[in-house]
Amino acid sequence: MSDVMFVALAVVSTASALLLVTRRNPLYAALCMMVLFGTTALLFLKLSAPFLAAMQVLVYGGAVLMLFLFTIMLLNLHPEELGSEKGLTFKLSAGILSAVLAIFLIYAVKFSRDMTGGSFPELPAGSAAFGSAESVGEGIFDAFVLPFELVSVLIVAAVAGAIVLTKKKL
């Protein structure tokens, strides 16, 4: 049951990611992205990280995707404006490079497992509540308090940057 679900999610998310990068119409690409975000959220849920799954839907499925759509509408490229299609050499080399990277990573994961006798290092909080909002909060407000505060600084810097680049009257 669990494996069937994982395989189904993995196939759908990989397929939607592939479709995402191969669509010429940016709106279709955004649609594929939505599917990708949804399946990724479900994968997080399966990996017992419900908080991350909820955030994936809220932030990526909601806000980030909306930002993408606004950008697409801002550019609003007509098919004739999309430019000529990339040549076969480009596509082929991109495909080969991605395949090499994928094989390398699969090999790395597989080989690491063999070396350590089938077990990856135990994660710090291996309990059932590992990915819950509580345990994330315990991490944020204790060991990772500095990164947490840095997020606020990052957001303010990003706001200033966005306004200075896009606001008409300054």
């Binding site: 390398f104 790395a108 070396m115 500095l146 600084v153 810097a157 200033a160 966005a162 200075v164 680049l165």
Partner: protein, 507 residues
């Protein structure tokens, strides 16, 4: 809570910088437009306070903060000092320049400070999560800064290209961090070093990190963004980008590579850096020869300088992978010190050169093409002399700081080679790199001196109306050229400071 406040105290230089950034942001929107000339002074004051706070912690040994998220040590403080100097010089050079290009507002000052604070944290991070967030604070601020002159098309192009490629490289870095966490169950740089045995996943993570950092420091083959971003961005921002981003990127790279992957791990990474350094030096120097635009030429020369600094890392790797050779360990600190000295010398010559470029050639464009430089010695003799000092120093000609910096780096590689040969190891990688470095350095003399030749032996093309530079710009050009001369004539004091900075990485 008290202990948290107490723990934050050694972090005060960074906190001061971030507070200054917020203050500049608010001052920009709450003050009247005619008072905006005062905004750079907020930045200057902030940097001065931060520098004093920084000096306070120099020589106090290592301070671990916040459960190992931050390690304040001589290395982090040294790099932070370089970043603050670069930030200060940028503020001074911006007086007048920012007004002319229409970005004399709080955001400009604020983003420069945000970027500096992020860079300082990057140099002090002992945890990959903190490292990633500080890298993002730096990068996002710099993306926006690169597009500061909004009405210039080239500037928008620079910002967009830098942003897209930068985001792509950050993804690699983040993927690398995730893989390393997957292999070691820790994001602490020091804990990663404790993992025993060969871990392909860890090697994969290391590879991704090298891609990510290679992009930030502008090493080939991850350098393609550099020429466009440097050419399009306003000259003051370009100077800051060239110097501070490179220093911070190298700081993070050195800390992660040398602390998380020390000793015999070096066998995995030094061949990679060997190839990268070689490619970087050759590509940078050879393409720079063909540039007609001085800003673009300096971008390629910046790539070449990255290559020279990487020679130091390769020497460290070769030395670290042969720990049984007696005397090899003793070589490592001077090599790392040489790299840090190089970063300091590079700071002054690059910022000085970009300050000269920010003098207007025509109405508001930067002093860019070679033709703009023709006859500069007649129009502005002092500025031309300073530019000649910066360029000759970059070419590595004595008696300037750039020569000494290159000397230390090449000497490190040759020392390692000598030690290898003395113990019977017949491999010539270090020597080859040093010799090829010297050869490519000779190419560079041509394109640096070409600008000098244009300045001194060409008649000015026409009477170009030039804007009177501000006192800040004059001061920057003067101070940088003095610093370059002092670094060249009396390097030993600075070198010993740099070596102390390197002590935190390699003893």
């Amino acid at each position: 809570m008290e202990h948290l406040i107490a723990e934050m105290k050694p972090l005060s230089p960074v906190l001061i910088v971030f507070t200054g950034a917020l203050a500049a942001l608010l001052a920009g929107v709450f003050s009247k437009k005619e008072n905006s000339y005062a905004l750079p002074y907020i930045g200057i004051t902030t940097v001065a306070f931060a520098f004093v706070a920084l000096l306070n912690y120099w020589g106090r040994g290592m301070i671990w903060l916040l459960q190992g998220a931050i390690r304040i040590d001589s290395f982090g403080l040294y790099i932070s000092a370089i970043i603050l100097i670069a930030c200060l010089i940028t503020f001074l050079a911006s007086i007048g320049y920012a007004k002319r290009l229409g970005f004399e507002h709080g955001e400009y000052i604020s983003l420069l400070l945000f970027a500096s604070g992020g860079m300082m944290l990057l140099a002090m991070s002992a945890d990959l999560v903190t490292l990633f967030l500080s890298l993002e604070i730096m990068s996002i601020s710099i993306y926006a800064l690169a597009g500061m002159a909004r009405h210039r098309q080239k500037c928008n192009e620079a910002a967009l290209k830098y942003f897209i490629l930068g985001a792509f490289s950050t993804a690699f870095l983040l993927f690398g961090i995730a893989l390393i966490y997957g292999a070691t169950a820790s994001t602490k740089i020091h804990a990663i070093a404790q993992v025993q045995g060969l871990k392909p996943l860890l090697v994969a993570g290391l590879g991704m990190l090298i891609v990510g950092f290679g992009f930030k420091v502008g090493a080939a083959p991850f350098h393609v963004w550099v020429p466009d971003a440097y050419e399009g961005a306003p000259a003051t921002v370009t100077g800051f980008m060239a110097v501070a981003v490179k220093a911070a990127g190298f700081a993070a790279l050195l800390r992660v590579i040398l602390i998380a992957f020390p000793g015999t791990w070096a066998e995995y990474w030094w061949p990679v850096f060997w190839a990268v350094a070689l490619l970087t030096m050759f590509l940078g120097n050879i393409i720079a020869v063909f540039q007609k635009n001085v800003k673009r030429m300096l971008a390629y020369s910046g790539i070449a300088h990255t290559g020279y600094i990487l020679i130091g890392l390769v020497s460290l790797g070769i030395a670290g992978s042969e720990p049984y050779i007696p005397g090899m360990k003793a070589l490592m600190n001077p090599i790392a010190g040489g790299m840090l000295f190089y970063l300091l010398a590079y700071t002054f010559m690059t910022l000085g050169a970009f300050a000269v470029i920010s003098l207007a050639a025509r109405d508001e464009d930067d002093l860019e093409t070679l033709d703009d430089f023709s006859g500069l010695s007649q129009r502005k003799p002092v500025v031309a002399l300073a530019m000649a000092v910066f360029l000759i120093s970059m070419a590595g000609v004595p008696p300037f700081g750039g020569f000494i910096a290159k000397f230390y780096v090449f000497k490190g590689a040759i020392d390692v080679q000598g030690m290898l040969l003395a113990s019977g190891v017949k491999e010539y990688h270090a020597l080859a790199l040093a010799i090829l470095g010297i050869i490519t350095s000779m190419f560079s003399v041509y394109y640096y001196l070409r600008v000098v030749w244009f300045m001194y032996f060409r008649e000015p093309l026409e009477d170009r109306p030039s804007v009177a530079p501000s006192w800040g710009l004059h001061f920057v050009i003067f101070a940088s050229s003095v610093a370059i001369v002092v670094l060249g004539i009396l390097p030993s004091g600075f070198f010993s400071v740099a070596s102390r900075g390197a002590e935190a990485l390699v003893r």
